[in-house]
Structures are given as C-alpha cells and as structure tokens.
C-alpha cells in the first residue's frame, strides 16, 4: 500500500560519487541538472544523456535500483512523446485519416523526454550516494534557512514512523473485511482512517516537542557530521560544473 523511501539504500557502497563531499556534490549536480534541462536541441540532449549515464556508472549504484527510480519520470514523459507529434505544427511525416504526424512534434517530444530522463539520472549520483540525513545537513551547511533544514530532518524521520502506523491501520481494516474500491463508502472510510492518522500525528508532534524541550531543544540544529573538502572533491566539482558550463556555452553561443 505504502512503501518506505529507499533512496539511500545503497549509500554505504564505495565509489568516487560516494566519496564526493555532499555539499560540493549537491551544488555541482544541481548546476548540471539546470544546464541539461535547458539544452535546445537533440544532439546536445544526447550528449547530456551520455554524460548522465557516465556519472551514474561512476556511482556504482545497482542497475535495478537505478531503473526503479527512473521509471516514474519515464511514465510522466510518455504522454509527451505520444501526443506532441500529432499536435505540434510543422512538416508532415505521414497523414492517417486527417491525423498528421509532424517532424517538429516528434523531435520536440523526444527532446523533452531525453532532457527529463537525463535530469533524473543525475539525481541518483547526487542523492542516492549519501545517507539522506547527511544530505539534509549538507543543505544546512549551504545556508538553507534553519527552519527548513530542521523541517526536513524531522519530516524525513517521521515519514518512517507514519508508514508503519498507516500499514498497521490498513492491516486492521483489511482484517475486518474492508475492500478498496472507488465508491462513496470506501472513500469516506479512507477519509476517517486518514483523519485518525492526522490526529495521531498531531498528538505525536506534541509529545515529540515536549521530549525535545525537556532535552534542551532550542530550534538550533547541532550536527555531528564534519565536512571537509579534499583535492578529489575539487577535481569532481570542476569536472561536473565544467561539463554544465560547456553545455550552456554550446547551447546559447
């Protein structure tokens, strides 16, 4: 019904991407993703795609894991590839009972898909190679407002609690004969279960807050992780940002 987030399942492997300083990794890959998203033609999009694949290979993440995470974006871009060839005006490839497929539409559809998939591939070496709590701490080091950083920490931590909580409530419902269908009764029942989940979360939030205050919580994050940039971190940063900048220069010059 609901699954755990498993993005950092393979963060304990060892690869150049795993050793890369999380702060530099976030900055460099974010810049590269922005560059990839803005390339204006198919040739550059394919170069970006190959680059993304190379970074993914360098991260040594298992292929099945990578495909699982890429498949959602693929589902999102399928309508673009299917619909755009028939709706964008331009040179006609063929005409079938008044339904005409255009070269421009096909090209644009594929461009959108390649850019989207390249960008999502790059998210994996960026995020999946570091424990997610360390990634959040790196965001704090990068001057994200403290309120947001702490919200990320607490929210991420309690997602796991509520996945278990919801699974337990769901099992209880199914054990009593509930069947999930699209009818008014099922939707109202789901409404009540979710209502209960929110009541529990509200009460739990209060307890968490009391417990934190008792331990001296003052809304200022304290972290045990020390970040340190090494020579290899600078090299990777230059390589990734260099790739991004050259994509942008070729795109817009």
């Amino acid at each position: 019904m609901v699954n755990y987030p498993e993005i950092d399942k393979y963060s304990s492997l060892d690869s150049p991407m795993h050793r890369f300083d999380p702060r530099a990794k976030i900055v460099a890959f974010t810049i590269l993703i922005f560059a990839v998203v803005l390339v204006p033609n198919l040739e550059l999009a394919f170069i970006a795609f190959i680059g993304a694949i190379l970074f993914l290979i360098a991260s040594k993440l298992p292929r099945r894991f990578a495909l699982q995470h890429i498949k959602w974006v693929f589902l999102f871009v399928v309508p673009f590839i299917l619909i755009m060839p028939f709706t964008v005006p331009g040179r006609e490839i063929f005409n079938f009972h008044g339904l005409s497929m255009t070269y421009e539409g096909l090209e644009y559809g594929i461009l959108v898909a390649v850019r989207a998939i390249s960008a999502v591939i790059l998210v994996l070496p960026m995020i999946a190679t570091t424990r997610f709590d360390v990634t959040i701490k790196a965001l704090g080091e990068l001057k994200m407002p403290s309120m947001l950083v702490q919200m990320f920490m607490f929210t991420y931590r309690y997602i796991f609690v509520f996945v278990v909580e919801f699974q337990r409530m769901w099992r209880a419902m199914v054990a009593r004969g509930f069947q999930l269908k699209t009818n008014l009764y099922a939707l109202k029942t789901i409404g009540r279960v979710l209502g209960m989940l929110f009541v529990r979360s509200y009460e739990r939030g209060d307890r968490v807050y009391q417990a934190l205050r008792a331990r001296g919580y003052t809304a200022k994050p304290k972290t045990l992780v020390e970040f340190k940039m090494r020579a290899s971190d600078y090299v990777w940063t230059v390589v990734i940002i260099g790739f991004a900048v050259s994509l942008l220069i070729v795109s817009f010059a």
């Binding site: 993703i33 959602w72 999102f76 919200m151 990320f152 939707l187």
Partner: protein
C-alpha cells in the same frame, strides 16, 4: 500528476516558479519568527508534514488506473500559512526520494500545489463563518471541507496546465487539456475524502481544523 518533471518547462517559467516559492517561504519564515516561537512550531509542523506526506503516497484505484492523493486542500485547512513550507518540504522529498517531479521544477511545483492550499484555507475559514450561521455545524464543515479539497486540486491542475502552456503554447496546449480532463475524477475523489476527514476531525479533534498556529491563542 501535478508534479512536472525536469526538462519540460522553459527558463522564464522555471525562474518565476522559484521566485514565487522563495517569496512565500520567506513570508512563512518571517511570520513564524515574528510570533517568536519557532522552536514550538518546527517539531509539531514537521511531524504533521510527515503524516501528510505518507497520506500522499497512498494509491487509490480510479477506473483502470490509479492515482495518489495530493491533499493540498487539507494541508491548507489544517496548517494555514504554514501549509506552504509544509508543501515545499513535501515536494522536495517527493522529488529526491521518489523522483516524482524534478529538481529544477521544485519552485513551479511548490507554487502550483501550495498556493491553492492557501486559497483552500481561506475558503474553509470564511465559508464556515457564513455556513455555520445557516446550517448544522457538521454539514457546513463537510460542504466547505469538500469544496476546499476539490478547489485546491482543481487549481493545482489549472496552474500546472498554465505552466505548460506558458512554456510553449503550441507544443503543450493539447497535453495541458489532456492533463486537466484526466484529473476530473481525482478532483471529485479528493473533495469527498477531504470532506470526510474534516468532519471526522470536527468530532474527534476540533482544534486541528483552525490552523496549527492558532490553537494556542
């Protein structure tokens, strides 16, 4: 699917999305600093954000396919102005944990989902002010809860369609129309579910439906 992936939108739309999102986040942070109890709000707000996030992972069957909840209307009704940071956190986590959406589109997606949440909050609050004088309390809460839930998803879909059309009118117009039509059943489902949730909360925990920040006053 109101979370747009990377690689689709044009630079001006992406930039506008980030500008709106950063401005609204700044307002929410400024607001909570002004009230001077940040350390009170953060843990409670985050724990509820986690619950909303988990609820948004639930897939329900819609005809031959399935859809997952957005529940932005409910987030607005319960959290008020803090709905925006909560939804921003939700959008970022959806993107980085599950790859639903894109890194460059975090700004646009947060604005598309978060602004309707704020509007839903106003609908629910003002609607009930009038509604409670006209009819039974729980009926009014159901009607305006359902309205808030439905309108929030409807606006999120409309905003998403507009983001696509503003990026490239000729290329994405048909997609935007298809997206809007595909979401009609989801709007109805969210309206019913949001209505049932707020009625349940009215009976069990009424302080929840008045804004998390307001209950201590």
């Amino acid at each position: 699917m109101v979370h747009i992936s990377d690689g689709i939108l044009s630079l001006p739309v992406l930039a506008a999305g980030w500008a709106i999102t950063i401005a609204l986040l700044a307002v929410a942070i400024w607001w909570s600093n002004k009230k001077g109890n940040l350390e009170d709000e953060i843990p409670k707000l985050s724990v509820m954000t986690a619950a909303f996030f988990v609820a948004s992972l639930i897939h329900i069957p819609v005809g031959p396919t399935s859809a997952h909840f957005i529940l932005n209307g409910l987030v607005g009704v319960i959290l008020g102005i803090f709905a925006f940071p909560a939804i921003f956190i939700g959008v970022v986590l959806q993107t980085v944990l599950f790859q639903h959406g894109g890194i460059t589109t975090i700004g646009v997606n947060s604005a598309n989902i978060g602004i309707p949440a704020l509007i839903a909050y106003c609908i629910f609050k003002w609607g009930n002010k009038v509604g409670m004088t006209l009819m039974r309390k729980d009926l009014s809460v159901w009607i305006f809860g359902a309205l808030a839930g439905g309108v929030a998803v409807f606006l999120a879909v409309i905003f998403t369609a507009f983001s696509l059309i503003l990026s490239s009118k000729e290329a994405f117009f048909a997609i935007a129309i298809a997206l809007t039509i595909a979401h009609i059943p989801i709007i109805i489902i969210e309206a019913i579910v949001t209505g049932s949730i707020v009625v349940f909360l009215l009976k069990v925990k009424p302080e929840l439906i008045g804004g998390l920040g307001d209950d201590k006053k």
